[in-house]
């Protein structure tokens, strides 16, 4: 079997992975990006809204445009970066330092990298309720993929569950696609996403019902509606459920890191609610307890593309530096400062606390 060799293997071609690849390659390392999807960009390719953040991280630019800018940056790296699309990394064997991957559905390959940056992103959470297996119940990611990648609307009238940034933004994108949003339900007493995202859909007439949730989906063969209930302080249903007519129920109830490969690699992990799942311990340059593996982006805690890109740059530089390539300490300092600034405010508080609980001073012991 063919065994592919590379200095740095980047698993996942989202904003974190592309940033890592660009930095490692511009330091001089040979980089291979393995991406399971048919295109690079990760979540960014589905984001038609303008991003928040600072100019350095392309704030005010639409997500899919940011993906294009990152792909351009990768193209500048010439032969230093090889890209394998439709290639899903399926396993890591720490003893042999061997990575296995599926190319398409038939071909199986071995990759033997000196160092790995894991940037596999996140997967969606779902919530249980009766009839949640009816056609018409979707995760927000699927709704976005249908709409923004394939140009297909999921239905005519959607009930959105969850008023975090994803629920709010996907609602806005549905409105842009001409789909009606019956309501956004949120179990908490306040929206979880940015206030301005909520204001944007509210002024277009979408009700946001706080302290509300879905109690069941209605329908025979497909979704025709949902029963919606109010919740008390303990999140128990109160009063009579109300019926909402809709043909689509969209769940936007959170993400959790896609951390399987980190487990396989034996990285030291911890469950951190503020980071939305099990995440690895890391030093400040994103190295895990396995001295061959770095990570960046949502896989090390659910955050934002802006942070994912900076973490990716740090991880890429650090992986390259460990192979003897020259990276200036100014570059590291600049990235650390930008990351610090992004997380400095109130909305960054949970991330700050979460990250500080899994950050170690160094891995000297096993490096």
């Amino acid at each position: 079997m063919e065994e592919i060799r590379t200095d740095v293997l980047v698993v996942g071609g989202g904003p974190a992975g592309l940033s890592a690849a660009a930095e490692a390659a511009s330091a001089g390392a040979d980089v291979l990006i393995a991406e399971g999807d048919l295109h690079l960009g990760g979540q960014l390719v589905k984001q038609s809204h303008k991003f928040f953040g600072s100019k350095d991280e392309f704030a005010g630019t639409r997500g899919f445009e940011i993906a294009r800018l990152l792909r351009d940056e990768i193209a500048q790296c010439g032969d230093h970066v090889k890209i394998m699309l439709n290639t899903t990394v399926s396993g890591y064997y720490p003893d042999e330092k061997l990575v296995t991957a599926m190319v398409g559905e038939e071909e199986y390959v071995h990759i033997s990298p000196k160092k790995i940056v894991l940037a596999s992103g996140a997967q969606e959470r779902l919530i249980p309720f009766p009839n949640n297996d009816l056609p018409g119940v979707y995760g927000a990611g699927a709704v976005q993929t249908l709409m923004n990648v394939y140009g297909v609307t999921p239905g005519k009238r959607v009930l959105m569950i969850g008023a975090g940034n994803i629920g709010l933004i996907v609602s806005y994108q549905l409105l842009q696609a001409g789909v009606e949003v019956a309501a956004i339900l949120e179990a908490m007493p306040r929206i979880g996403g940015y206030w301005v995202h909520a204001a944007k859909v509210r002024r277009l007439g979408v009700p946001i019902l706080l302290r509300h949730s879905i109690s069941r989906a209605i329908g025979g063969d497909v979704v025709t509606g949902a029963m919606v209930c109010e919740l008390d302080e303990k999140f128990a249903p109160v009063g009579e459920p109300q019926k909402v007519d809709c043909d689509t129920i969209c769940l936007a109830v959170g993400l959790t890191p896609s951390n399987e490969l980190l487990w396989q690699a034996g990285c030291k992990m911890k469950y951190v609610p503020f980071l939305c799942g099990h995440v690895p311990f890391r030093d400040k340059n994103m190295r895990t307890s396995n001295s061959d593996i770095w990570m960046a982006g949502d896989v090390c805690g659910i955050e934002e593309a802006s942070a994912a890109m900076i973490e990716g740059r740090i991880a890429g530089m650090s992986a390259a530096a460990s192979l003897g390539f020259k990276v200036s300490s100014e570059n590291f300092e600049g990235c650390h400062a930008r990351l610090h600034n992004l997380r400095a405010g109130e909305v960054g508080e949970k991330i700050r606390i979460g990250v500080s609980g899994v950050t170690v001073d160094g891995w000297e012991a096993n490096v």
Binding site: F52, S54, V196, A199, V201, L209, A344
Partner: protein
């Protein structure tokens, strides 16, 4: 379904830091209008400042700060209206005349309205506030965020925040 007009659900109910109306004196006289920013939550975001050509949206000490405006410098150019990812900037020109004000509102829906169209003007909770006339449609950054200039009765300036093409 009826949702209460609460701040917690994304409806501005009163002035707050980051959501302050322009000073009346200057606003009444300033041709081109002044910006209204409704960004009352500290989030890590600053394109309003970096896109402002006159420095009216003041530099952020911390990227998480809410925007602060030096109204002496605001020209009502509406670049921030086009740039703000939260669609939280609006311009209102009270000098339009005939008891009307000209509002410059961000618009990212289809179809795009055309000059002369009558559109529904919506309030912060999507309620129908009044009809307005489209006076101009621009796309300052050529990035599909349009700025729709719509004339509305001057006393509706504090209520109108969006339009619907009917």
């Amino acid at each position: 379904m009826n949702a209460p007009r609460s701040f917690e659900s994304g409806v501005l109910t009163e002035e707050r830091p980051g959501a302050v109306m322009p000073p009346q004196d200057r606003w009444r006289e300033h041709k081109g209008g002044l910006v209204i920013v409704e960004c009352p939550q500290r989030i890590p975001c600053n394109p309003c400042n970096t896109s402002c050509p006159t420095g009216a949206i003041m530099p952020f000490a911390d990227i998480n700060d809410v925007p602060q405006i030096d109204y002496a410098k605001c020209t009502g150019c509406a670049l921030c209206v086009a740039k703000c990812p939260g669609l939280a900037c609006f311009v209102a020109d009270l000098t339009f005349g005939d008891g009307l004000a000209l509002m410059k509102l961000p618009y990212e829906m289809l179809p795009s309205p055309a000059k002369g169209d009558r559109v529904e003007c919506l309030g912060r909770a999507g309620e129908n506030v009044c009809l307005g006339r489209v006076e101009n449609v621009t796309e300052p950054l050529r990035d599909r965020t349009r700025v729709v200039h719509v004339s509305v009765p001057a006393d509706k300036v504090n209520d109108v925040r969006a339009i619907r093409v009917v």
